[in-house]
Symmetry: C3
């Protein structure tokens, strides 16, 4: 039985959705040791998200940003948490809707993602800076 | 300590929300071996979802479909990812909002769902076809 | 390798979002035994949610309630599941959007939450009563 945990620092990215599967896997050569298990990725922030969606056509990620900007508007007149700028409260709401973590099965040393699946970093602030992700690999050798 | 993983093929279903708890449990007689643990169900697609909600009145699932069809409209004029049909981009967004996986505690060989909880397959395409789910059971005997 | 599971009964709270990190941790002194692992919190209900967001300014939680009340309106004319009151169907939808569970890494005997992160109980019914959460701690000593 194996438990491996690493805290990974992501590069700063612009606001929007970014495919980070390869970046995460490159930091986790230990994946190879696990025959079966799960990989848990947890973002230690409240205005950025982790989710899973299409890894091919980049316009999917553009449409994600466009949709969520409409679904969670800036400057809603009823927002009270406004001191950190108009992008802050919407960022918290988007993070809650999309999620703070993804869990992916591990099969024969690899993430068992579907053919079209990739891991998205949702950066919901205009200037989010670098983000921390805790990766926990659990399973059997 | 036990790690069991199975890849399950779901039957094709029509667009909407479908209760699949019994179907999943029937494929996992190994659940009985675990005294305590978790069951992780992961859908290997980006236009279908797994979530948990009411297992009793079927109108809840009808209302889920009606609500999400309004919250994520087809043919939004700003969508750019439109080549796979008007139901495709909304399907990706619904999948991201609802989630690609559910984790359920295991207690004494059974899923520790609440009395009214069931696992929903959200089929967000008009013709989604059969879907793959990876089930990973982890725990102690 | 350790697997610890406890069923926790939360106090009844008013409709809205409530920070429950300290309450959960106080019930789990066993956390100290785990050097590395994950803590899985699962709510056994379909009209309340668990999510993670800002633990500091309480107006974030007020804005969460205001936003989700607008995003998921009561008395939508197309709702068919209306017998349990106007707050019931929206509560199911909010619970599905926010989630039924959170998983948090454990590092050196503590939840590895980010500085600004806390665990939110979303109580989406007007009179939700006391709620059950199953906590499962998994990891290595």
């Amino acid at each position: 039985m194996v438990y491996i945990q690493k805290r990974l620092r992501l590069p700063a990215v612009r606001r929007g959705f970014h495919l980070i599967t390869d970046l995460l896997v490159a930091e986790l050569p230990e994946l190879e040791r696990l025959r079966v298990g799960t990989a848990h990725f947890f973002i230690q922030h409240t205005s950025a998200s982790l989710s899973i969606n299409e890894n091919a056509d980049p316009t999917v990620r553009v449409d994600f940003e466009a949709y969520f900007n409409r679904a969670v508007p800036e400057n809603a007149p009823y927002f009270r948490h406004t001191q950190e700028g108009p992008d802050d409260m919407p960022a918290h709401l988007k993070a809650a809707m999309l999620g703070h973590a993804v869990s992916v099965p591990i099969t024969n040393g690899e993430l068992a993602l579907g053919t079209w699946q990739g891991i998205y970093l949702g950066e919901h602030r205009n200037q989010g800076g670098r983000r921390w992700v805790v990766a926990t690999l659990m399973g059997a050798e």
